[in-house]
């Protein structure tokens, strides 16, 4: 009896590992593909073999990326735009989220609901009017234009995340600070904001990634190739697949490694932030 139970347990264990391994293989396969392509020498880009590491692996594509292409420029453009969006997102969301969490004021409920409603907008519903507005205001081909669009699309989610987190911090903390003679602002800035650091990190990460990984808006607003961000640059490799596929692979690896690492290290908080925000409607 006991032996049999142990045997079924072992079998169940093996089955679990087996299933997980299959899915891990599926999850990792495309990433391995990109890496593989990025290491292929120029004459083997269209190789039809499926080796783990390509024969004659080389960093040639990485070097060509920096020497023959404007990759450094795109990297700089993307970093600049993403940081600007992050800064805007964190400052505005940390303040507005606090207001929504702690105070009851006229328009609060409508405000919160309309923030949620924006999540249902199809991308074009804001993009098209904004695009036309930007034509009128001369903001096409400017960073200001793109930073405004990105901040606006990221902000509702960020405000909800911040609000959800502030809700979990007891109000007695500010009350104590207020009794000790702090102003509202000091209580917020010195006492609550430091405690909300995890949510601030999530907000920052989310805003950064939103800008770092966005192609469709950028493709419309940044048409001048001197302003291109990474996604537009990478897409340009794809259009002439046969010759530049290796550089596409190299660029993808460089772009995704930092965000993937960041994401993995923060994924635990990201989910709690997400579910808090959505469950606690």
């Amino acid at each position: 009896m006991a032996v049999q139970r142990r045997r079924t347990k072992l079998l169940k264990n093996l089955l679990s590992h087996g299933i997980l391994l299959v899915f891990v293989l599926i999850a990792v396969f495309p990433i391995w593909q990109v890496m593989n392509i990025s290491l292929r020498p120029g004459d083997q880009l269209l190789s039809t073999s499926l080796e783990l590491i390509p024969a004659n692996a080389t960093f040639e594509n990485y070097i060509r990326l920096f020497t023959e292409r404007e990759f450094l420029l795109w990297l700089w453009n993307s970093t600049f735009v993403s940081l600007a969006v992050t800064l805007t997102g964190v400052v505005f969301a940390s303040m507005a989220g606090y207001g929504f969490s702690r105070f009851r004021f006229f328009g609060r409920k409508i405000g919160l609901v309309s923030l949620l409603t924006t999540q249902m907008f199809p991308a074009t519903m804001l993009l098209l009017p904004m695009y036309i507005m930007m034509i009128h205001l001369g903001l096409i081909n400017t960073y200001l234009g793109i930073v405004i669009v990105y901040s606006a699309t990221a902000l509702p989610f960020c405000i909800w995340t911040m609000k959800g987190y502030y809700d979990t911090i007891p109000t007695s903390l500010e009350e104590a600070a207020r009794i000790d003679g702090c102003t509202h602002f000091m209580a917020f800035f010195r006492v609550i904001l430091p405690l909300a650091a995890p949510a601030l990190v999530i907000t920052a990460l989310f805003s950064f990634m939103a800008a770092w990984s966005e192609y469709l808006v950028a493709a419309q607003i940044l048409q001048d190739s001197a302003l291109w961000t990474l996604p537009i640059g990478l897409k340009s490799f794809e259009s002439s697949m046969s010759t530049e596929w290796g550089m596409y692979g190299a660029a993808s690896i460089i772009v995704m490694v930092p965000v993937v690492l960041l994401f993995l290290s923060l994924s635990r908080w990201l989910v709690s932030g997400l579910t808090l925000g959505s469950v606690k409607g």
Binding site: T48, S114, P122, P129
Partner: protein, 295 residues
């Protein structure tokens, strides 16, 4: 009291000014546009023409056909969300037991979610290439089947988009489900085991009902995201190839707006999409509230 008001204003007003300028104003402007006749030639001297754009959407034949695109969007959303949830919950159930290397599996399985979507899309497009793509290599070399024309025939191209999106979407549901599973107290299962409940009974009567309150909002969110996911369809099918047969509603609007410059038509279509999602979300909220009360 006045001080408090001033502080509230200081906190909230900046965000709302920004949102008013870049969300609410475009939203209203989009409504106005939808009732006009703006296109690239009439960008400054457009006029109101009433509901004609809406009539055009629903009655005039378009290339591609609106109703076909609508049907595809429904298929796209249902199939994707179904697979996301089933795979996600399935993997979460496996991960939620004593298992060696659990956190390593978990980390590796989140990867598809962590990669920027446009890279996912462009990479999969490469993998679907007829001659050199790895998918066809696997199909022909290891499975001995004939190669598939992934990107050049309508059905296969649409399937390619769905495969890509299923791949990138299951980790989100997995992580949400895992969080929900971990919050179920062990005693519940122990009690069930004493009563001799089978594996299936425990899943059906304990696990699924208990993760439901967390999964419903996540599924609602996932549905809206999938319905609105422009990136994958647009980039995998390269703007709807072959010949605009691979569109869902959002990519169709994007094309109308930025390739054909039919601004007012696109604005009207955006409103149609928005209303569909609004009705859907309200219905879900109603439904889940109604069942909450029943418990």
């Amino acid at each position: 009291m006045n001080r408090t008001r001033l502080f509230i204003a200081f906190l909230v007003v900046p965000s709302f000014l920004l949102l008013a300028a870049v969300v609410f104003y475009p939203f209203v402007y989009n409504f106005l546009l939808a009732f006009g006749n703006m296109n690239l030639n009439r960008i400054r001297d457009w006029e109101f023409i009433g509901v004609r754009q809406f009539v055009k959407i629903f009655t005039e034949p378009s290339q591609p056909d609106f109703y076909a695109v609508f049907a595809k969007t429904i298929i796209w959303t249902v199939v994707n969300v179904l697979f996301h949830v089933v795979i996600g919950v399935f993997l979460a159930l496996i991960l939620n037991q004593h298992l060696k290397g659990k956190s390593v599996y978990r980390t590796l399985l989140i990867l598809p979610w962590a990669i920027p979507q446009y890279i996912v899309a462009l990479t999969w497009r490469g993998m679907f290439n007829y001659e050199y793509g790895s998918i066809n290599l696997i199909i022909t070399k290891y499975l001995g089947l004939p190669a598939v024309e992934w990107l050049r025939s309508p059905t296969e191209a649409f399937l390619a988009c769905i495969l890509t999106n299923v791949w990138l979407g299951f980790p989100f549901m997995m992580v949400v489900a895992l969080g929900a599973l971990q919050s179920i107290p062990h005693e519940v299962y122990e009690a069930a085991e004493i009563d001799g409940a089978s594996w299936w009974r425990k899943l059906k009567n304990i696990t699924l009902p208990l993760i439901r309150p967390v999964m419903i909002p996540a599924i609602t969110l996932g549905t809206v995201w999938t319905f609105n996911n422009l990136n994958i369809v647009w980039l995998v099918s390269n703007a709807g190839e072959p010949s605009d047969n691979t569109h869902i509603l959002v990519s169709f609007v994007y094309k109308a707006a930025f390739h054909f410059y039919s601004f007012s038509y696109a604005a009207a279509l955006s409103i149609v999409i928005f209303l569909i999602l609004l009705v859907f979300s309200l219905a879900i909220m109603r439904q889940s509230k109604a069942t909450d009360a029943a418990y």
